[in-house]
């Protein structure tokens, strides 16, 4: 088929997707070069949610940055705080009490579940299905209520601190957590019937947005995006931290690397998180929840690195200390930025509707990208 110059001008379009588009979840702005319904090129425009967290870290004492960590990735905030707390504990050589370690894992895994549930609902909303988000929020609300009782906050949990957690919890809420596990396990059948076996959903996601393992590695993509491509990379398994090595859980993997694989990896991960929480509740030790920590934290001059597995992948904090009570440099590595950076290569030649499902399948939290 030959296209005349006149027709070419008609088909060729420059489209702004976002920063206000519902499928960009916040303020992501994609400049698309379109040819009819086909995407020729993507240029993500970042920075709308930029808050300069790294500069803030350089202006306040080490402990004060705990106010920032939950606000970087608000959908899964506890792993970020856990990462920063563990970094300080590694720098100061502090042993965290056993009960605090378990409470940290219970809350982090609950947070992973709330984050994945939010993603499932929002992803299906992007694909045009309104019903699933109502089910997801019903379940998510139960977990958020538990987190609110344990941590005191519903979204930006100020729970982790250097040396342990801010407060102990009571048996009533732990019983409620067990009830949640039972309830949630039954709910997966509903999700399978409603979403996983839905022919429209499968058609919109199968063989769409295929990420090869090599491509994911070259871009530094991690988390469910990398595991959906079949690479068994989970920091909780390969470099266990905070006591994860004492729990039994599997790392769910995809095979094809398409949107459907990323969906099923996240859904299975929620089941694994429930297993971890159940084991942690079964063997929850007593004792203190906070180690003795110096009032002013002054790590020895040097650099410190700590990595955890957030809901979206590799969360790494890297700090340089000059020996004073204020960090000299703090680098926050967010998983989303690396995951999004492969989108321009991935989506060339794709249909616009497939771009929306690929974008959704990456599970982006924009403030984490912009920081």
């Amino acid at each position: 088929m030959t296209i005349s110059a006149n027709e070419d001008r008609t088909f060729r379009m420059h489209v702004n997707l976002g920063p206000q588009h519902p499928s960009t979840h916040g303020v992501l702005h994609l400049e698309l070069e379109m040819y009819g319904e086909y995407v020729l090129g993507i240029d993500p425009v970042l920075g709308y949610g930029h808050r300069m967290h790294e500069k803030m870290a350089e202006t306040r004492p080490w402990q004060s940055f705990f106010a920032n960590t939950p606000r970087i990735d608000y959908a899964c905030s506890l792993p970020h705080s856990l990462c920063y707390a563990s970094l300080l504990e590694q720098a100061l050589d502090i042993e965290v009490p056993a009960r605090a370690r378990s409470l940290r894992i219970i809350t982090s895994e609950l947070n992973r579940i709330t984050s994945h549930l939010l993603w499932v609902g929002a992803f299906l909303l992007d694909l045009g299905a309104f019903t699933p988000i109502l089910y997801c929020f019903d379940d998510r609300e139960q977990a958020v209520d538990i987190l609110e009782h344990i941590t005191g906050n519903r979204l930006t949990h100020a729970y982790m601190c250097a040396g342990g957690v801010m407060a102990d919890t009571d048996d009533a809420i732990l019983r409620k957590t067990r009830e949640f596990i039972q309830r949630m396990r039954g709910r997966f059948q509903i999700y399978d019937r409603l979403i996983t076996n839905n022919i429209i959903f499968v058609t919109r996601t199968r063989d769409i947005g295929i990420i090869t393992p090599d491509m994911a590695r070259a871009y530094g993509a991690t988390g469910p995006v990398l595991r959906g491509s079949g690479v068994p990379c989970d920091i909780r398994k390969i470099a266990p931290y905070g006591g994860y090595d004492t729990f039994e859980f599997d790392v769910p993997l995809g095979s094809n690397g398409d949107c459907l694989d990323r969906y099923s990896v996240r859904l299975q991960e929620m089941r694994q998180s429930l297993n971890i929480i159940e084991q942690a509740l079964d063997q929850l030790p007593g004792g203190p929840v906070r180690a003795k920590v110096p009032r002013t934290i002054k790590p020895a001059p040097g650099h410190y690195s700590f990595s955890v597995e957030g809901a979206r992948g590799d969360v790494t904090y890297w700090a340089v200390s000059d020996g004073s009570e204020i960090p000299y440099r703090l680098k926050i590595r967010s998983a989303c930025m690396a995951n999004l950076s492969l989108l321009p290569e991935l989506c060339q030649g794709m249909l616009l509707a497939d771009l929306i499902s690929t974008l959704g399948s990456l599970d982006l939290v924009i403030p984490e990208i912009d920081r």
Binding site: E58, Y219, G220, I238, A239, H303, T316, W318, V320, M337
Partner: protein
């Protein structure tokens, strides 16, 4: 697989690198210091070993801006911290041709520290807006700027012919 293949160490040593191995709580952390000219060679070794890029950033010190790259293995507890320096004019070679994932990290480092990466395909601002392209907010005020001597434990100093 052992946590630290000797082969990888040998290949890195061939890049004239200063290597320090530490074992914090999470497996091995390999601290590799190379000169600017050997940076690409060392990064190629890491790419061929199947490591993925974790982040790239800089630290403003007196007299250089130190550049720090972290890589991680996806199958064993191994992380590599590759450190070098930018020259006085803030120039450094780009690793984007080796790791496409470095592109955004390097653009961010240009925003925050004003580093110009040679060989980078696209040096537009990433996080900051166009008006703030020369703001470089993470450069230190002179009164807060520390020398490499004061940050000794961080092992960021690079010795070698063209380190300055």
């Amino acid at each position: 697989m052992s946590a630290l293949p000797d082969e990888l160490l040998k290949k890195l040593q061939a890049c004239d690198a200063h290597i320090k191995t530490t074992s914090p709580q999470q497996g091995s952390l390999l601290h590799v210091r190379v000169t600017r000219t050997a940076l690409k060679q060392a990064a190629t070794v890491l790419r061929n070993a199947g490591l993925y890029p974790v982040f790239m950033t800089a630290v403003h010190t007196d007299p250089h801006v130190a550049l720090v790259y972290q890589f991680a293995a996806s199958d064993r507890p191994l992380r590599v911290l590759l450190a070098t320096t930018a020259d006085k004019g803030g120039h450094a070679p780009s690793l984007t041709p080796l790791f496409p994932g470095m592109q955004w990290h390097e653009r961010e480092a240009r925003d925050m520290f004003g580093i110009i990466f040679e060989g980078h395909p696209d040096m537009r601002p990433l996080i900051l807006c166009d008006e703030d392209r020369d703001l470089h907010p993470l450069l230190k005020d002179p009164k807060h700027l520390k020398t490499l001597e004061q940050l000794k434990g961080a092992d960021l100093e690079i010795t070698g012919g063209e380190a300055s």
